[in-house]
């Protein structure tokens, strides 16, 4: 097997085609799991691989699967989270476009391991055109008997339905996603009960990100040890790092978990253009608190970023150059969360719009020095006080922008 055979995004342009996937050894891992492994051994292997969820929270995938009760007769569901809405993130798009069969193969293995017979792929509305290719891939897999009834001649069945959203960042939150699949507003549910026990249609449900599932075939095909060797022992595998903003070569870079942020930005993405210096870097999608230029040696893995006071999140890296005023970054950030708050919890609904109004005032030159403390206080008031992680997702990056670039913002206010 060559390196290109196991990459999440193969270099070859025709990599998305069914035949191309089969040539790279595609569907062999699913065949191995379904025809020769016990479901609990599939879960054990994924647990041993240290695969952490690629949607943002980094929860160990195998552990999540093991929470699904194996007693009872209720149907169980798999929901694939392809609602890639975190600003600065474009990795799941690439998998859907360039390697859809690897996602499907990962889904077959996950469903077999947990005992699931029905799966939904929740694709964000803005990716509706991309979802067409996914439908094509599904048809090809069904035709070959890799999906549907009696997969690989076994008694294992799996039906897959593509469910396209309609524009709502909040639906990337797992319980809001479930509400949306059920045909409701995407308003997050109270937890517990967790979806593994009471999820879609009140049944046990596994929700995994696209990139998480696309990693499963190589874990089963090459083994957990091989997988951890490509990353870290407790945070295995490679990661799709998306780099955008002030760099010479924006794009996706598949690199080992734990690659230093500076290496990704300066070596792989080519660093900032001529005459521009780095002012700040968002390391994991807009919700990840910003880092200063002296903080860029941090290894890009879940634990190291948490220790650095930020988060790996979706690994969507946005580089901000020294010509960009921080108030511009703050304006975009504040507007986004005010726009996307679902309105269910008061601290988030009021907090995000109050911050947005305050930031807008500063941007228009009508700010007061006390506004910066007001923003910090509002952000504090949201943290940990909402049903879902969106309150923190809004509060933390705003808090970091104001506290780390206070001098510049004070100048903007007094000007």
């Amino acid at each position: 097997m060559s390196e290109d055979d196991v990459r999440l995004i193969p270099a070859d342009d025709s990599s998305w085609r069914f035949e191309a996937y089969l040539r790279r050894g595609g569907y062999e891992a699913a065949r191995k799991a379904v025809t020769s492994m016990a479901p609990q051994d599939v879960i054990a292997e994924v647990r041993r691989a240290g695969l952490r969820g690629r949607g943002g929270a980094g929860f160990p995938a195998g552990l999540k699967w093991s929470f699904v009760p194996q007693c009872g007769t209720a149907p169980k569901y798999l929901c694939v989270n392809a609602d890639e809405g975190e600003p600065g993130t474009f990795k799941d798009r690439a998998i859907l476009v360039r390697n859809p069969h690897q996602l499907l193969e990962g889904m077959i293995i996950a469903a077999f391991g947990v005992g699931i017979r029905k799966a939904f792929i929740y694709v964000r509305g803005e990716y509706a055109r991309i979802a067409r290719r996914l439908e094509e891939a599904l048809a090809e897999a069904r035709e070959r008997g890799f999906l549907g009834r009696g997969i690989f001649g076994s008694d294992f069945d799996l039906e897959v339905i593509v469910h396209v959203g309609a524009g709502a960042y909040i639906c990337g939150e797992e319980t809001a996603l479930l509400e949306s699949v059920e045909g409701r507003r995407g308003q997050p549910r109270f937890k517990p009960p967790f979806p593994a026990v009471v999820g879609l249609f009140r049944s046990p449900t596994v929700i995994n990100n696209v990139e998480t599932l696309a990693n499963i075939p190589s874990i089963i095909g090459c083994g957990a040890d091989w997988f951890t060797a490509r990353g870290l022992p407790k945070d295995g595998g490679t990661r799709l790092f998306g780099v955008s903003g002030a760099v010479r070569r924006p794009g996706l870079y598949e690199l080992p978990m734990g690659t230093p942020l500076r290496t990704i930005v300066e070596t792989h993405a080519g660093g900032p253009p001529e005459g521009v210096a780095i002012k700040a870097v968002v390391p994991g999608g807009l919700s990840a608190p910003v880092l200063r230029p002296d903080e860029l040696d941090v290894p890009m893995d879940f634990d190291s970023l948490a220790k650095a006071g930020s988060m790996l999140g979706t690994a969507g890296i946005v580089v901000i150059g020294d010509r960009t005023p921080i108030i511009e970054v703050l304006k975009v950030t504040a507007r986004f969360y005010a726009h996307e708050s679902c309105g269910q919890c008061t601290p988030c609904r009021i907090g995000t719009s109050w911050i947005h109004k305050t930031v807008t005032r500063i941007g228009e030159g009508q700010g007061r020095l006390s506004d910066l403390d007001l923003i910090l206080r509002l952000a504090e008031g949201m943290k940990g006080r909402t049903l879902c992680p969106m309150g923190d997702a809004a509060a933390l990056p705003i808090h970091a922008l104001v506290s780390k670039f206070r001098d510049e913002l004070e100048q903007a206010v007094s000007r």
Partner: protein, 160 residues
């Protein structure tokens, strides 16, 4: 006025409902199908959907008003959606938005008087390595320069 989808859309809608364990779960795809055919979902179509899925009309309205991609009023024949989130702003999205408004003679989130083009600003389209980016009727374009944006408008005109 009452609403009824075309025979083709009705067939599509019925195919959409079938795989869901509960009919009402098909609400989003059904609304998408109606909007695809009619350009928006009017109150009479809401009533039709409610009856079709066996839910109260208020549930249809709730969903329709929650998701930003649903329209309750007609828009232009073509919709241009320009991303203005962080990566695109850093790459000059506001300049492209200003340029398009000037070219089309419309204000923020407006439609040209002849009903040809609706221009909207949106949050992240997930195409950040092609910033500044936009979608025209769901098709991705980027990175977009002023010249590129002018060429896209020309192309739209030529296709009429």
């Amino acid at each position: 006025m009452s609403y009824a989808p075309s025979a083709a859309t009705l067939k599509k809608i019925e195919g959409m409902i079938a795989p869901y364990p509960e009919k009402s779960a098909a609400l989003l795809p059904v609304l998408r199908a109606i909007q695809e055919e009619s350009g928006c979902v009017l109150p009479e179509a809401e009533a039709w959907v409610a009856a079709k899925l066996g839910i109260r009309p208020i549930r249809v309205r709730e969903v329709l008003s929650f998701y930003t991609m649903f329209r309750r009023k007609p828009a232009g024949k073509t919709t241009i959606q320009v991303c203005r989130n962080l990566s695109c702003t850093l790459a000059g999205a506001e300049d492209i938005i200003g340029f398009l408004r000037e070219k089309l003679h419309i204000g923020p989130d407006g439609t040209t008087p002849d009903g040809r083009i609706t221009l909207e600003t949106v949050e992240c389209l997930g195409n950040c390595d092609h910033a500044p980016c936009l979608q025209i009727d769901g098709v991705d374009h980027g990175p977009v320069t002023r010249d590129g944006a002018a060429a896209l408008l020309e192309e739209l005109r030529a296709h009429e």
